[in-house]
Amino acid sequence: MNTEKPYRRRDLLGIRELAASDIIGILDTAENFREISNREVKKVPALRGKTVINLFFESSTRTRTSFELAAKRLSADAVNISVSSSSLSKGETLLDTAANLDAMAPDCIVVRHSSAGVPHRLAKVSRAAIVNAGDGANEHPTQALLDAMTIREHKGQIDGLSVAIIGDIVHSRVARSNIHLLTKLGATVRVAGPRTLVPKDFSYLIHDQEFAPGAKPLEVCEHVEDAIRGADVVMILRIQRERQDSAYFPSLREYSIHYGLTNERLDLARRDAIVLHPGPMNRGIEIASDVADSSRSLILDQVKYGVAVRMAVLYLATGGSAVNS
């Protein structure tokens, strides 16, 4: 199979693979696309004649809708395919599926899968640009990009900020992508949560980046309060109920008491701190309802910027040039 990608087609497998300048290029391009969603006619011809396949092996209403709208607002033809992962094990392998889709000559395949590494394997065998829409516990790059866009909008820049990420760090692709992105753009990240879900040596995640001597761009905190204290941004991760069944913590009730974001805990952050959550929220568990509904919570902004970020990602993946600001 010829897997050489046509001129200018680029995969987005993760934030880990990107340079800071790539990230800024995507964010600046997304800024340019933002206003399209505010128009009466929400469509530009940038990707007319291009085909985008949303290949979702894991259900997701929000991310899939966001990618679909992004493609359509750029005039691309978007096709959604939902595959239950179990049907794969019945015969057709992942690579068969990829080869079949590739034969229909799409320009871009957006893939979400519960197994880490699937986009990387597809990128090896597909001529389409592969965009990772979340792979297992590995990465969710467009989520980190839309979070960054939200932060930039409210804080002006990312460099120099202190960001707390609270919750199930080890199983979180959102945490991994955000940590890569934020540290590459100069923020300091502190993570905290139950020890069962926050490995002590997690700072290895960014071992291959270079930082100033003595800098601690990623710190694992013993207590949630230590992570939140003085933070400019507090990012709360969704807690999965099945973690309770696997004995990572005793109960959702206890989790909410010891690790949930309450107004009291948020008071430890800077007065102008903002709160992010990738959704969907478990109100009253990882985030108290009054925090979620407060003016500091930017959860709907995140969703809004998601479309613009995905427009930028699809545009760049299929050959567009980044905006230089």
Binding site: S89, T93, S115, A116, G117, R121, G136, N138, P199
Partner: protein, 437 residues
């Protein structure tokens, strides 16, 4: 029928031999060692072993030949063809076939299939428990009578210490070593690679070193209690090597083996840090126990050097390409190893100064024969079976899965270059593989 292996350098640690000698083989057995002054029989076929090491036949005490039941991955004939091409004159298949080798009839079937293939010797390993389900003991005495040389539940290790204790007591009665794949699945379940920094990086669920070490320590205590001989399969962590080292110094009857991938690769291979052709999430880096950290790899090297580790065994685990094409966390564990092990042992151990040639022969022949009580093998003293491996330590070659004799191609070493190779493989006096045509 006579065969004379001349001009070679004989290394036979069991006989304390490490010098130039000619070996005369007659009727499948070693007839005599000839000094230069001795007369040569005129009616013998000659193998010129100039520049080669003449070693007692290599014995791989841990392979999966997949027959009966999984012939799409491997058959006894194809596995034996791969074995002799890799320099192994004998292989010991694990019992995780379908049906499980928990019965003398299946043990006999495996041996008969090997005889039909007429390549390597097959010494089956019987199950510890019926169907390897960890509850009732399999008929070890009957399997031994049929030709089994050890018992193991390999990839489905006996979780219940009480049953394992009785299994060891019972196996000791028959002089059968108990081989254990040490993995406490309550600690490793769901894991697909070594738990450590690289698993954090890749977002893959880890299998902690602890899962192996807890079972190794349990087995040491059980071995001491029962007096059975325990052999730890594919040891892979620094802590496990240290536990075995200490147990040996205390006189516990315990041995262990290491697999070539564990002394060659680390978990960074899962991230694709293994040369230009390597890529992240390649399922040919997935095996159990998993590729561990560099510190663990160094501990394996030290164990091979200082004698803590007794044997090199491949854990040859063929899987069909369709199975290995699945997602990383769904693909089966295991890689092939029969044709790459000797190349890796030379390249990674001998030529890097970790071990010398005598130790190599001990690890691949002398010790496996001793652990499994294979009388008349693992040595070339007159009277022993003429299973002989001829080795060229300097032969430079590259492995290609396309040319592999195995039915499966799941190797992370495709295209890798080696220095050192088995050139000729002789089983019971018959040349079954010859690189020199």
């Amino acid at each position: 029928m006579k065969l004379l292996i001349t001009n070679g350098h004989v290394i036979d640690p069991a006989a304390g031999q490490n010098s130039g000698k000619d070996i005369l083989v007659e009727d499948g057995r070693v007839a005599a060692w000839l000094a230069s002054s001795d007369e040569r029989p005129s009616d013998a076929a000659i193998i010129d072993a100039s520049g080669l090491i003449v070693a007692p036949g290599f014995i791989d005490m841990h392979v999966h030949l997949r027959e009966p039941g999984h012939e799409h991955k491997e058959s006894i004939a194809s596995g034996c063809a791969a074995a002799v091409a890799g320099g192994w004159t004998s292989v010991c298949p694990m019992p995780n076939t379908n049906p499980v080798n928990d019965d003398a009839a299946i043990t006999r079937y495996m041996i008969e299939q090997a005889e039909r293939a007429g390549l390597a010797n097959v010494f089956p390993i019987g199950a510890i428990t019926k169907a390897s389900d960890g509850t009732e003991l399999a008929e070890m005495g009957e399997m031994k009578a049929a030709g089994a040389v050890a018992v193991s539940d390999d990839g489905r290790p006996v979780p219940n210490a009480g049953i394992m204790r009785r299994a060891m007591q019972y196996a000791a009665d028959f002089g059968l070593p108990v081989i254990d794949h040490c993995e406490d699945k309550s600690l490793s379940s769901g894991g697909v690679m070594h738990e450590g920094k690289v698993s954090l990086l890749l977002g893959l669920k880890g299998m902690p070193a602890l899962a192996e070490e807890i079972d190794v320590v349990r087995d040491i205590l059980l071995a001491r209690d029962t007096g059975a001989h325990v052999h730890i399969a594919h040891i892979s962590t620094a802590g496990a090597v240290e536990a075995v080292r200490r147990a040996k110094s205390e006189g516990v009857s315990i041995t262990c083996e290491a697999a070539p991938h564990h002394f060659t690769l680390t978990d960074s291979a899962v991230a694709g840090d293994g040369g230009e052709s390597a890529s992240a999430y390649d399922t040919n880096t997935k095996m159990a126990p998993p590729l561990r950290s560099e510190q663990d790899r160094e501990a394996i090297l030290e164990g091979l050097r200082d004698g803590t580790i007794d044997a090199i065994a491949t854990d040859h685990a063929p899987h069909h390409a369709d199975e290995k094409s699945l997602e990383y966390d769904r693909a089966p564990f295991g890689i092939t190893g029969l044709e790459t092990a000797v190349g890796l042992a030379f390249t990674e151990l001998v030529h890097k100064g970790v071990i010398d040639l005598v130790r190599l022969v001990e690890l691949c022949s002398t010790n496996p024969a001793r652990i499994l009580s294979l009388t008349g093998r693992g040595t070339l003293v007159p009277g022993s079976v003429a299973d002989i491996t001829l080795l060229d330590p300097e032969h430079v070659w590259a492995f290609s899965v396309a040319d592999s004799r195995s039915r499966s191609k799941n190797s992370p070493f495709d295209g890798r270059e080696f220095r050192g190779k088995a050139i000729t493989t002789i089983v019971a006096g018959r040349v079954v593989f010859n690189e020199r045509g």
